[in-house]
Every structure is written in C-alpha cells, then in structure tokens.
C-alpha cells in the first residue's frame, strides 16, 4: 500500500462521508419538526427510538462481522437511517415496531449485503415494508390527526411517551392517512361533499402540506449543497404527473394531482429516498429513470393498490431494477460516438 499513498493526486478535498450524512440529517429536520408540530410528539419519540436501535443494531452486527465499530458508526449513516425511519413510521405505533424496523434495516438490508453503499434495497423503505406487512393493524391505525381536524388536542409529551412505550397499539384518536382517507371517502362522496367533512374544513390537506413543504426545503438545501442531484426527484415528479395529470383530472372520482404531490410521502420520497445513492441507479440518466419509475409505480399503487402510501413499495420495486437500469444508461464518455449500452462490449472496429 505504500505505493498507493505516494501517487497522484497528492491532495484531497475536504469532503467526508460523515459530513454528507450529517447534512442529510440536518435537511430532514424541518420535515421532522413539521410532523411533530402537526401530529404530536410521536414522531420525535419514534425518531429517538429508531436512531438508538439502529445504532445499537449496527454496532452489534459490526462486532459480529469483526469490523471496526466506532470508526464505522462515526459515518452517521445508521443515525440517518434511524431518522428516515422515524419520520416514516406511524406516530402511535408501539416501540417494538421501531426496534424491529431499525434492526431489520441495519442487519438484513444493509449489512447482509456488505454494509454501507452496497445495499440493494433502501434500508428505511425495506424496513417500513416489512413492518407494514407483518403488523398491518398497528401500522394502519396508529397515525395521528392534527388538532385542527379532530378537534381534540394532541397528547402531551408524557401521554405520548406512555403510548409509545406500551406493547399494544394505541387506538384512540387515530385515523388513516390523508391519502387513505380520501381514497375511501371519494367512493361515496363528491369532492365538494368531501370538502365539508371535518377532515377538510381546516383547509385542503391541512398539516401534511406543510410537512411536505418542510421536506421540500430540506431537499432544496441538499440540492444547493450538491449532495444530491436533481435527476431523481425530478424523475419522480415527472413520473407521477405523467399519470396523475390525465387520470386524476376529475376530483370526484380520483385523488387530485395536488394531493398526489403534497398529501403523502411524495416530497420526502423524492428528496430523501429516491436520492439514496446506494440503492438507486448510478448515472444521471439512470437516476432520472429510477425516479420516473418510482413516480409511475407510486401512482399505480396508490390508485389501484391497498396500501396507505405507495412510495415504499415503488422504491423497492425500482431498487430491484436499478442494476438493470445501470447497464442501459451509461453516460456517453468523452470521445465515444455513443454510450456503451447493455451487457456486452460492442464489436471493435479495426
């Protein structure tokens, strides 16, 4: 290795892996705060539980894999996964769901594939999908409702904490997510009637809109810092709009376009999930296609599927396709007439 150290370049930029992870965490904070403001302490408590269990799980698997523990934990990627899970899981879900999700994300999704940067699936999304399928009841009924909609105050910190620390899922004032709600109600009501229901008098998708805007703010920060590129997010919005614009024009029969964009996890997914470099496609073109696919699938699952939100499943499906996308989206290298595409070298011209 001595040879390696002495060859060019002799200078390095000042970027570090942990700096990147920390910025992504910082960028997720506005969203987390907005969630907590509108939906109560649950999100913050969940985030803490997820971060702690993700870090512990990573430490454990690192020891098992005989890898340096502290050095690896320092890169803050486990913390980031914890935060992403914290903002994804329902605020009234019991603590063990967080622990299972975080542990699964770290051990099975990340480290069994070789650790940081080598995972095929997005850890947060895979873990979310796992607990959603395994524990459908707490996962679908543990969402909270803003006070302006339910008329009931959000639980205090200590109340919330005791809910979260119970074994049983809390089922007091919980309700389905706005997307779910609209989807079930619109079968019986017109859009105008729906607007009169208590869920809508406070304003169209009250709360969740601000959450989405807060995530957008964080996403723009990441774009500004050049930590993410625009291709994935723009791809996702494009994919979603391509289907939503023609098929969701009639608000009486389908979820309106704006709801697709701002009433679910779309913005979060666009800037924090689709942009996960390890499990996304590689080239800029590939990232766009990856995002585009997530957008299309999200629309399809939301419209015809049975799950509260579709980002997670759409992302997982695209994760599987990413290596394939990579083979067909290599950039055109300087001096080559066209990109090298596919799995075989082109016939060499003599």
């Amino acid at each position: 290795m001595s040879l390696m150290q002495r060859s060019s370049p002799h200078v390095m930029g000042r970027n570090t892996t942990s700096r990147i992870m920390l910025w992504v965490i910082v960028a997720a904070l506005p969203g987390l705060l907005a969630l907590s403001y509108f939906y109560g302490w649950g999100y913050l408590i969940n985030t803490v539980i997820c971060v702690v269990s993700a870090v512990l799980a990573e430490a454990a698997i690192l020891m098992l894999r005989k890898r340096p523990v502290l050095k690896t934990l320092k890169d803050a990627s486990a913390v980031l996964t914890g935060v992403l899970l914290g903002v994804t899981l329902p605020p009234f879900a019991p603590w063990w769901i967080m622990v299972i999700a975080s542990g699964f994300a770290m051990v099975f999704v990340k480290h069994l594939y070789g650790g940081l940067g080598q995972n095929l699936f997005n850890p947060a999304m895979a873990a979310f999908a796992l607990v959603l399928i395994s524990f459908p009841l707490p996962m679908t009924t543990s969402w909270s409702t803003p006070e302006a909609i339910s008329g009931e105050p959000l639980p205090s910190f200590s109340q919330q904490l005791s809910h979260n620390l119970e074994w049983q899922a809390y089922d007091g004032i919980t309700m389905a997510t706005p997307l779910d709600h609209y989807k079930t109600k619109i079968k019986r009501l017109t859009a105008d009637e729906l607007a009169q229901t208590p869920e809508y008098v406070a304003g169209p998708f009250y709360g969740i809109l601000w959450v989405n805007l807060a995530f957008l703010l964080g996403g723009l920060l990441l774009l500004f810092l050049k930590i993410i590129s625009w291709h994935g997010p723009v791809g996702l919005f494009t994919g979603l709009l391509v289907l939503a614009l023609p098929f969701s024009a009639d608000a009486d029969s389908a979820m309106p376009v704006l709801m697709h964009l701002f009433a679910g996890a779309t913005v979060f997914g666009a800037f924090f999930i689709v942009t996960d470099p390890a499990s996304s496609a590689t080239s800029n073109r590939g990232k766009f296609i990856f995002g585009f696919g997530v957008g299309i699938l999200t629309y399809c699952i939301r419209t015809w599927g049975n799950f509260p939100d579709a980002i997670a499943f759409a992302v997982l499906l695209m994760n599987i396709s990413a290596p394939f996308i990579d083979h067909y989206t290599r950039p055109r290298t300087y001096g080559k007439p066209k990109p090298v595409s596919g799995y075989k070298l082109p016939e060499e011209s003599p």
Partner: protein, 593 residues
C-alpha cells in the same frame, strides 16, 4: 457568439486551491550553470537513442551527442559544454522510478572553457517566413525540441503527420495548482510565443491558432493580447477559459475551444488540430529565429518546503537536488520529498534524477502540506465523483470493477477513456484513492491482453504442430502401404526364385529395410525440425514486420501506444534473432552428419 469566440463548458471538473501566488510574483530567474548534467538517452517516450560520443570526449553546448535510428527517438543534445565523464544507468524522473542509460557531462574548468567555443551554433533564420516547411521542421528536430508537457514527444513529429491540420491550439491553460511556469513565460515572452505560433502555423499550413489561457492569469492574457496587437495577425486569437481543473488536459481543451471531442483512442490531429505548449512554441522561436538549441526550460520550484518559491530557467539535465540547492532548499540524502508536476497529476521523483524537458514543476511540500490521506471509508455511491469526472465516466462503477477484478465490466464502463486527472479522488468523501485503483486495473487489463495474445500464439503454434503431425502420419501411412505392396510383390517374386538368389535377395531386402529405416529417421527428425525452425523464423519475422508498421504509424500520429509498441518490438526482435540462430546452428550440425 461566433464559433470562434465560443467556449464549450467542460462537464465536471473541480476547483482545488490554486496556490499560484506563491510562485508567480517574481520574474523568471536563471539558476547558475550546473557543474554536471545527466542526459538520459530515453528522454521521451520514443525509442532510446544511441550515444555518438565516447567517455572523455569534449562536447559543446547544443552538440548532438546521441541519436536513434527511428524518427521518434529524439536527438539528445549536450546542454552544457564540457566533457563526457560517464555513460551509465542513472535514475530518471519517471513515475516508474527506473534507471536508464544516460550520458553524464561535466563542465570544463575555466581555462578550458575559455579555449573552447561557447555553443554549437545554428544559423539564425531571421527570414523564417521564406524558409521551406522542411527546413523549419528539421531545425526543430536539430534543436532537440520536444513537447514540454505530458509525454514529451519530439515536437517535429507533430509537424510531420499526414493529416491536414487547420487549427493550432496553444495550451497556456496551466490548470494544475502550484505551477506557474507557463504563466510567467507568457508574461515575459509574449512576443516570442506569438512568433513561435506564427512559425508553427506556417509549418502546419493551418489557418487558425487559439491561444488558450485560464482567467486566473490576467497578466498573461493582457501580455499575449498586446503582443498580438503589435503583429496584427488575424489568424491568432486569445481564448480565455474559466479556471477549472482539468481544463488544460489535451482532450478537455480541444472540447472547450472547439466543441469537438477527440475520438476515443485517437489524437487531436484526427480533428485537424495540433496542440502545443507555450514553452514549446517559445523554444521553436528560439531555435528558428536565434538558432539556439533547446538546453533549458522554465521550472516552477514551489511548495512550503522552498524558501524561494518562483520560476527559474534550469539547464536540462541538472540533477534535481542541485537545482533545489541553488534555490536554497536544504538537501540531505534523498530528502526532501519532491513531486515532479503538480499535486493533482505529479509523481514523486528521486532527487538525484535530472530535470528533463517535461519537468514543469518541482513541488517540495512541507511535512504537513499534503498529509497522507486517512484510510479510505467504503464507497457510499454518493456520485460526487461522477459529477466531477471531465470524461463523463462513472468513477464509482470503475472503482467497483477494479476492486472486484471485473475487467470486462471495466471495459464496458470505458476505463481506457479515463485520463487519470484525479478529480474524482479529490471530491471523494470516503478518501478512496480512485486513480490508483484505475492504474492498477489498467495494468491488469493490459497484462491479461498480452497473455491472451501469447495464448493465441501458442494455440497457433499448437495447431501448426498438430497439422504437421497429421501430415506426417498421412505420409507415413502412404509409405507403409507402398511398402506393403512392394513386399507383396517381392513375395510373389521370391516364390519363383531359386534358393541361391533367395539369399542375395534377402540380403538386399535387409539392406533396403535398413536404408528405409535410416531415411525414415531422417524424415522424422531432420527435415521436420528444420521445417519447424524455419516456420518459427517466418512467424517471428512476420510479427516483427507487423509491429514495425504499427510502431511507425503510431509514431507519425503521435499515439500514446509508442512506448508499449517499442517494448514489444524489442522483444519480438530478440525472439526473431533467437529463432534465426537456432535455425542456423541446426542447419550447420544437420549438414555435417
């Protein structure tokens, strides 16, 4: 904006700290003439030259002291007047750290020097505009001018290419941090560079010249512009390019200025473009107009380890340690550490090695200036490298391919188009020494390719041997049948013969069979081996011829493969010689049984 003024922005690229101000503030100073110089016979990527002087012989500055048989082997000129004291292997400033045969010249004592002429003089061609192209090219060759950057090709080669050239690009970009040699040269010798450009335009019969300078060198830009105003040559244009590393890379600069890309694996001449360094054009002007051979160049000596950072005229062949000592750098043993070139693409050199024609910078870092990179973290696939790559590659994929020895995949990901600029390594947050991995991968791929060729050759040999054996078997079979037929005949004849003649005929038969056995033996060993040897010679000859042709084209087009081909040719020639001598000795021994 017209095509002529337009700049095509470079994809990727980085902005490392420039560190130019340390060395670009003072005029170029001249280092005192060295006590001795070391002139490698392998100064450039061409073939080695052969010495034309003997030890003890007195030579003059500018005298031709070594030359090669091949056009690409540059001529080696004495860079000081003095006496040849050794012709031996000496360390050479090259990434490989190899030693190569070199001529050592020691300067004369003062009395001796007073008696001998200063330098070999070439007649100045003040009226160069009326000279023929051929005379100008041979002047460039005689003056020993090579490219002052990169691989250091003999410059006249660029003027001998067969392809029609329309644009000359003068590369004054100097995008590497720390280096300011071209900057100072342009500020102080703008008129000379412009004259050099005009001479080059004439030789190439090109219609346009772009002088490209990065916008962090405002003084150089205005100096060149002023010089252009003075000559009013409308063919020559200054193009200011944004400061960004690696804008000065040959391929990158071609794109920046013309919007065209040099095809993968080819050279700018395929687009009708020739690129020259400012220093080369300065040297061309000196050689043509003043008749001065190229014996010195501007070297930036900089870094926190130098008390007097700046630019210096350094005699080519000066041992690096002597050049450093002349600028008051403390030299002890093999310390300090010296990087030849800049921090992005330079390499560590042995300080006993000489300054060569491509030495643009001697960077002497302090112990803390370029800290050893911390151990790399895993690749997080953040894609920062990809955004920084000026060649539009996927560095993170190439890294993965290199680590997992996926050579086929590496080729799919166009590894060979990587210019090793190091932009990807620079931005990598995980501190992965990406370029080192690519160098390793390239070397491995090359090795495997060579092995495949070898395997192909031995397969060919095997097949030929197989075919020969089959042929032999068939012949033998035919003979055996013939013999059987003969024997049957003899049998028939014997039945009618008398006993007395039977004895004789049996004798005959025995004799005949002995003779046959002898002949057979001869047939199976002698001629066959002879044939095989002849075969080998023919094959070797063919291989040598083919490689010679390839080398010649590579040389005339200035392709980077010259070095590899040269090595291959040497090996093949050796193989041919071996085969010939084997054949020779066989024929001799075979002829005398």
């Amino acid at each position: 904006m017209s095509r002529v003024d337009r700049i095509w922005p470079l994809p990727g690229g980085i902005h490392p700290p420039e560190h130019k101000s340390e060395s670009n503030g003072r005029p170029i100073a001249r280092l005192p003439a060295p006590h001795h110089v070391v002139l490698p016979l392998h100064q450039n990527s061409g073939l080695p030259a052969e010495p034309m002087v003997a030890i003890g012989e007195q030579v003059q500055r500018g005298q031709l002291i070594a030359k090669g048989h091949h056009p690409v082997s540059a001529l080696v000129h004495a860079t000081i007047s003095g006496r040849v004291t050794a012709i031996e292997d000496r360390p050479f400033a090259h990434p490989s750290g190899l030693s190569v045969p070199s001529i050592v010249i020691e300067s004369l004592s003062d009395q001796e020097a007073a008696l001998s002429p200063e330098a070999v003089s070439m007649a100045p061609m003040r009226d160069w505009a009326t000279e023929t192209k051929e005379r100008l090219v041979s002047r460039i060759q005689e003056a020993g001018i090579t490219g002052l950057g990169g691989a250091g090709f003999p410059s006249h080669i660029k003027y001998l290419g067969q392809r029609q050239i329309h644009t000359l690009i003068v590369n004054g970009v100097e995008c590497e941090p720390y280096i300011t040699a071209d900057d100072r040269l342009m500020r102080e010798h703008a008129t000379d560079i412009v004259t050099g450009t005009q001479i080059a335009l004439k030789i190439l019969s090109a219609s346009t010249a772009f002088i490209a300078i990065e916008d962090n060198k405002p003084e150089a830009i205005s100096a060149i512009k002023a010089a252009l105003v003075a000559v009013t040559d409308t063919r020559i244009k200054v193009k200011v390019v944004p400061t960004k590393y690696p804008s000065g890379g040959e391929k990158q600069l071609v794109y920046l200025l013309t919007g065209r890309e040099v095809p993968s694996g080819d050279i700018p001449a395929s687009l009708g473009i020739v690129m020259q360094n400012t220093g080369t054009l300065y040297a061309i002007k000196e050689a043509v107009v003043s008749g001065t051979p190229m014996t010195e160049r501007v070297v930036t000596i900089t870094g926190e380890g130098t008390p007097n950072p700046g630019n210096y005229w350094v005699t080519i062949g000066t041992p690096i340690q002597d050049a450093l000592a002349a600028t008051q750098v403390a030299v002890t043993g093999n310390r300090p550490r010296v990087i030849m070139g800049g921090p992005m693409m330079g390499y560590d050199v042995d300080i006993t090695a000489p300054v060569s024609k491509v030495t643009n910078c001697l960077l002497v870092p302090s112990a803390t200036e370029f800290p050893t990179a911390p151990d790399p973290d895993p690749c997080i696939r953040c894609g920062l490298c990809e955004q920084a790559c000026p060649a539009n590659l996927l560095p993170q994929k190439l890294f993965w391919n290199a680590v997992h020895h996926e050579w086929e995949q590496a080729r799919l990901n166009s590894l060979s188009d990587c210019i090793e600029c190091g932009a990807c390594s620079w931005v990598c947050p995980s501190n992965i020494p990406l370029v080192q991995h690519y160098r390793f991968a390239k070397a491995e791929i090359k090795r495997e390719a060579i092995e495949t060729i070898k395997a192909d050759q031995s397969r060919l040999r095997f097949e030929q041997r197989q075919a020969r054996l089959e042929r032999d078997a068939a012949e033998k079979d035919a003979k055996r049948k013939a013999r059987a037929a003969e024997a049957a005949k003899a049998q028939a004849a014997k039945a009618q013969d008398t006993p007395s003649t039977l004895d004789a005929s049996a004798k005959d038969a025995i004799l005949a069979s002995v003779a046959r056995a002898k002949a057979k033996k001869a047939a199976s060993t002698g001629p066959v081996t002879q044939e095989a040897l002849e075969n080998t010679v023919v094959l070797a000859q063919q291989a040598v011829d083919k490689t010679r042709v390839k080398l010649a084209t590579a040389v005339s087009d200035g392709l980077p493969s010259v070095e590899a081909l040269t090595g291959a040719l040497q090996k093949l020639e050796k193989r041919l010689a071996d085969a010939q001598s084997a054949l020779q000795s066989h024929t001799e021994t075979g002829d005398a049984p």
